[in-house]
């Protein structure tokens, strides 16, 4: 099967999955007793006001009808109006998406780099102190409550040492003059504003460390296991025996083959990071989607909740598709089917 028809087939399947996702979120958020009209109107509102609100929000319609209306709106790209911010949910999300995307992508990059490097090191130096150290760090990473790690980092580097900012995306004395992509790093570079670029980088350091900590360990453990398997194979011995430089054998011959199984996890990893972003964003007052999710869920802002879960599902399934395509790029033997 050609890569093109593979992508088309996967995307069609994706549509079905997303429709299912839509159905699940819709019914979960509508069957349950919580009443957004009541919540929005406040405790002192009269029954008439509540009734009017319910009508405005379309909550007086039968459930199935509400669902049909909602789906037809989503098909046109309209995710509804947020009950809380009173603005279009799509617009709210578009505004906040770049912040989360920037944070998660940088964290992903850092985590993959450190994870792969650490994994290779502990495989090459198996059972030596490097390996043990990484193993300990790895187990700690998967057991650490990320919110506490965040609190420690803020306490240490912001409160005590004052080296790094403790929250936000950029200092209040600098600002991004022109919003082109919404990614501050990119925008600052495009406009040549190096003060803003520096500030954006400084603001990224702590949240990225906190967010990638757990992920580094899971990538590291996987790369190590895959590397060990590959390093024990005959062609590696042959390569070493014929006098190739050890570094070349490890990074070119072995790593490329070890990365294939590791790639599977990278898709899952992106999802893990999106989840971790929920806590990281609320710790660091990061104005992204995850924080928006927390506040909309606190106020039972159904249109926003459904829009957010839908978007996160789209991003998540899309990442998995990208990973599947990457398989073929790294290993030409793999057929798309």
């Amino acid at each position: 099967m050609s890569i093109f028809s593979f992508i088309v087939r996967r995307l069609t399947f994706q549509l079905f999955v997303l429709f299912g996702v839509l159905t699940i979120t819709f019914f979960i958020s509508h069957i349950i007793p919580g009443d957004p009209a009541l919540l929005l109107a406040g405790p002192k509102a009269s029954p008439e006001i509540i009734a009017k609100l319910r009508k405005d929000l379309g909550l007086d319609q039968p459930l199935f009808r509400q669902f049909v209306i909602y789906v037809s709106h989503v098909a046109r790209g309209d995710l509804g109006t947020s009950v809380f911010t009173r603005r279009s949910v799509a617009q709210d999300i578009v505004e906040r998406f770049p912040a989360t995307f920037e944070l998660v992508t940088v964290a992903m990059f850092v985590a993959s780099l450190l994870g792969i490097l650490g994994g290779v090191l502990s495989a090459v130096y198996k059972d030596r102190w490097v390996d043990h150290l990484f193993r300990l760090l790895g187990i700690a990473g998967s057991s650490m409550p990320i919110f506490w790690f965040g609190l420690i980092m803020i306490y240490l580097f912001y409160t005590r040492l004052g080296w790094l900012p403790g929250g936000g995306r950029i200092s209040m004395y600098t600002s991004i003059s022109q919003k082109i992509t919404g990614l501050y790093l990119v925008d600052a570079l495009l406009t040549g504003d190096f003060a803003a670029f520096k500030s954006a980088i400084l603001h990224l350091i702590l949240p990225v460390i906190v967010l990638s900590f757990a992920t580094v360990s899971s990538i590291l453990r996987l790369v190590r296991a895959c590397m060990l398997e590959v390093l024990s194979q005959d062609y590696i011995r042959v390569a070493l025996a014929k006098g190739l430089h050890e570094r070349r054998v490890v990074f070119i011959h072995a790593l490329r083959n070890a990365l294939i199984p590791a790639l599977t996890v990278l898709g899952v990893t992106y999802a893990e990071l999106l989840q971790g972003a929920v806590i990281t964003e609320s710790l660091f007052a990061w104005p992204g989607m995850a924080r928006y999710a927390v506040s909309s869920m606190t106020y039972l802002d159904y249109p926003a909740i459904m829009g957010l879960t839908l978007i996160s599902a789209v991003v998540y399934t899309f990442m998995n598709l990208v990973v599947d395509i990457l398989y073929g790029v790294i290993d030409p033997r793999i057929r798309y089917d």
């Binding site: 999955v17 997303l18 299912g20 996702v21 699940i24 979120t25 979960i28 958020s29 349950i32 007793p33 919580g34 059972d127 193993r135 187990i139 700690a140 998967s142 057991s143 650490m144 409550p145 990320i146 919110f147 506490w148 609190l151 803020i154 306490y155 409160t159 453990r221 296991a225 060990l228 999802a271 893990e272 999106l274 989840q275 929920v278 806590i279 609320s282 995850a290 999710a293 927390v294 869920m297 606190t298 039972l300 909740i305 957010l308 879960t309 996160s312 599902a313 998540y316 399934t317």
Partner: protein, 288 residues
């Protein structure tokens, strides 16, 4: 599977050579004991407010100091062990039972049943679990029960997939075919012949997941979608304590360290169990 006594002894011997597994096991046992004996160990009522004694540092009267309402932090953390263990165990067992049963059915009968169950799983896999759990817990109204319900809803599909993949292999094996040929019913084959052999990977997963479930429930508590104050749940305590990190570092630290230790314990035990029960995976996650 472990069946004979020499094998059991070998397993035991093998375990002793794995110090990390033993450390993990000891941690889990200790925390379980603390959880069971909480009312006896805790020196104070975890809910008793004494505002005059608020935010005291650790002392002989209050081993972990007091919180912002003057409650004894040690007692709260001790009772928190009860809640977290209960939450972790309930989530892991319920979702493994539910997902395991559905996966067994899907893998054994195949065809349309397999298709339906697996496509439903796919839909759940399309969400980042924590975000879906947050949405469910928030819509149901945040509470400890709803946290568990939400986490079971997002967790069972993993077990369905795991069990199904096991069953698909087992189903074709000769002894299962033989049982079928000698007239055993579907239920008998599933429960007596397939399930026991699909069991060990599921057990390993359950052990690892107890830790992860505790971590996730605590995260939900921290974000305000889980247990609610004044419940002495570790995530809730850490969340109430976060603003005191600057001057009373011990306050958020004690409940968080308890989470760390508990999850660490279950992770170490799960890793060790994986090595012993699933030799093919040996060396995957730990020293081979």
């Amino acid at each position: 599977m472990i069946s004979t006594i020499p094998q059991l002894f070998k397993t035991f011997q093998w375990l002793v050579q794995r110090p990390l597994f033993l450390v993990g096991g000891a941690t889990v046992v200790t925390i379980s004991v603390i959880a069971v004996l909480a009312p006896i160990i805790a020196p104070y009522d975890p809910l008793k407010i004494d505002v005059i004694k608020r935010l005291q540092p650790p002392s002989l009267q209050h081993f972990m100091g007091t919180d912002h309402l003057g409650r004894d932090l040690f007692s709260r953390v001790i009772f928190g062990a009860r809640i977290s263990l209960m939450v972790g165990v309930t989530i892991a067992f319920t979702s493994s039972a539910l997902g395991g049963a559905l996966g067994l059915l899907a893998g054994y009968f195949g065809k349309w049943l397999d298709n339906i169950i697996m496509r439903i799983c796919d839909m759940f896999f399309a969400f980042p679990p924590l975000i879906l759990a947050m949405a469910i817990a928030a819509s149901l109204g945040p509470s400890l029960q709803n946290t568990m319900l939400a986490l079971v809803i997002v967790w069972w599909p993993r077990y369905a997939r795991l069990a199904r993949s096991q069953v698909l292999v087992l189903r074709e094996l000769d002894y299962v075919q033989a049982a079928k040929a000698s007239g055993a019913g579907h239920l008998r084959i599933m429960l007596k012949h397939v399930l026991p052999n699909a069991f060990s990977p599921i057990l390993v997963q359950v052990t690892l997941d107890i830790g992860q479930a505790i971590l996730m429930a605590a995260s939900l508590g921290f974000l305000g979608f889980g247990a609610q104050p004044p419940t002495p749940e570790w995530g809730v305590i850490a969340s109430e304590a976060r603003i005191y990190m600057r001057d009373q570092w011990w306050y958020p630290t004690f409940p968080s360290v308890m989470i760390l230790l508990t999850v660490l314990g279950f992770n170490l035990v799960g890793d060790g169990l994986r090595d012993v029960l699933d030799p093919r995976q040996r060396g995957r996650l730990s020293k081979s």
